[in-house]
Amino acid sequence: MNVFLLIEAGLRSLSLLMGTTLSSGNSMRSDEISELLSLFANLIAQGEDVAEELRAFTEQMEQLVEEAREPTPEEWAALRSRSDAAHDTLQEAKTRIEGGDEPTVTLMTDDEKAELNTLLDIDSDAVLVLTEEGEARLLELNRKLANSPE
């Protein structure tokens, strides 16, 4: 049983439930929560990436043990290369964050809020499905939402 699919299905169900039961008043913000839940259901796929990497690396270790050998200099070098690249990328991000590269603070316009609703067709009885383009746009709108003043 794929735990990630279960979690994803649960989050999608919760998202739909919130979309249909919360309404009126400032319902837009409730809808935004529902839409964010949908977004994060898609982000669960990233967890699968980590599991796959760990699984592959565990298999590599099993093979080392089975072959009764130590890791080669080339295998060490490959890991080092990845480590240095990741470290450099994180340090660049730190420079951007601390150096005043502030994200643009932009309020979501009413048109963008309407677009968000349309993307997810939250009033539809259909199963919630996002196209690749829809997911990309949703991520973009989510970033804007995250950077908006509280």
Partner: protein, 136 residues
Amino acid sequence: MYNLKSFSTWIYLLVIMLALQACSTLNPIGKAETVEQRAYATYGIFVIMQEQAVKLVASGTLSNRLSLRIINAEAKAKPISDSLLEVMGELQEVKAQFQAGETGVEQYLIVTESLNNWTEQLRPLILNLQTALKGE
């Protein structure tokens, strides 16, 4: 009124936490049988966590505070992992010298012990990074 920024971050981190917990049965270090294999397994897990940190920070869904916390946790671990690599390099030289009869087994054991020490020092820092990735 919901604080969407922190709520969305919480949901995102919950997802990652669940995913990481689901990974707990995958244990490369548990497969290792020698000091070198354990060092390699430990280092490899650190690299996987580093790359996960890169993805999370680049995702644009974390606050600057949380991103910096992850980045700083990684930066604390990096020098220790570099030291582990240096000792690994020394060990490879000593092994070659030992096989060529140019050094005794004592030197080999000393460097192996040093490698083991650096491996043990790296582990809690990896856990620290994992904690930062979970947003705890």
